[in-house]
Symmetry: C2
Subunit: 251 residues, 2 copies
Amino acid sequence: MNLLSKDELHQRLLSVGSDRYHHLHPFHLKMHRGELTKGQLQAWALNRYYYQSRIPIKDALVLSKSDDPNFRRAWRKRILDHDGDHDGYGGIEKWLLLAEAAGLSRREVISCTGVLPGVRYAVDAYLGLVRDNSLLVAVASSLTELFSRNLISLRMDQMRKHYPYLTSGLAYFVDRLTQAPEDAAFALDYVSTHAATRAEQEAVVAALEAKCAILWAQLDAIDYAYVTPGNIPPGCFVPQEEITNALKEQR
Amino acid sequence: MNLLSKDELHQRLLSVGSDRYHHLHPFHLKMHRGELTKGQLQAWALNRYYYQSRIPIKDALVLSKSDDPNFRRAWRKRILDHDGDHDGYGGIEKWLLLAEAAGLSRREVISCTGVLPGVRYAVDAYLGLVRDNSLLVAVASSLTELFSRNLISLRMDQMRKHYPYLTSGLAYFVDRLTQAPEDAAFALDYVSTHAATRAEQEAVVAALEAKCAILWAQLDAIDYAYVTPGNIPPGCFVPQEEITNALKEQR
């Protein structure tokens, strides 16, 4: 197999996004059509918090794989973006504001006790992917950010339209609109430069596919548990509206 | 907190099973009511094969944690049960016979290429649970076998009744009817004897809960992907009947 040109590799990566990125997921389609209840959005925000909370840990694993201070200085930005400069600022804090806008308590979200096992396993698989593979694969697995800007723009518009109570909680997405494309450009340049053989280029493409599957599986678990009644696994978050409905039926 | 008596610990473990074992899962309830199509049973057999294929790996991880030849001799039986004495005999081979009875090709199943990411992450989480914890927790995570005999008996009866084409593939379950209770008795005795503090007893109970969640999440993923049309994630197994239906709709 011949080495792909930078442009050919870029095209391969873009086509993974077109086919497998979670902008196509049924749960996102329902979200953007305004079909989700407040309880379903709560379940999404609470579960997705587990992913958000693991991002700086993932990025620390990436840092730990590099012996190049230049690379580490550049990648360090991502940890800063999520954890912030002071306690209470940064992506994780802003995700908590979204969860609060959805009506959740900060303490319940941070505890992660109600997170779906399926979401937890998928996120932990992301940590494992990064921990157990090369720096090249670890960087490549972040390339889903190539596709996130469009999804976030659409999501913000649809949230303002269909779920106005979330409007006060959109700061996380505002930041990501600029952070994600910067991060994606850095990672794309890195994999284009450092994948030196066709096998390494194929590993880069496979890493992006694997990451798309990890994002997708989180929404599978959320859609399964919270859209069809009776599917919430034992011990997981139950939205208040479900409790209210169940009480009504008992009467 | 006081140490639980052996009987109290046993009762705690049984109540985890009553509340959280996957005999209660909606997908199993549908299976046992005869509501699943052949394609859905294929998806179940193909995905569950990934779990089966990882059991001897899990048991090798357990072996690797023990410095006691007596323990290793006893636990070794489980690897033998799954891998068999000769190529082609043992639990994994018998699961393939079930998959073939369901109409799948052996090669497709063994390749594991169509396995749902959600199933893969859950099973890999089981390997991680065993790898990253104490021998006591690793042994305790096998205690779901306390509850499997009843589920397997019921399943065999319902399969013969509702899905007679599977009847030739039930040898795996016949073996498990005797293997599982033997294995469970050994593991129950082990945790009863070796959990020396209340904290260790609580870790045993938590390990069983964690394992129940791992089994449950596999069925969540299968139920989500194969019961509601349009939910099969990119790149995963598509039953022939789905392909046929899609072609009909195109015409």
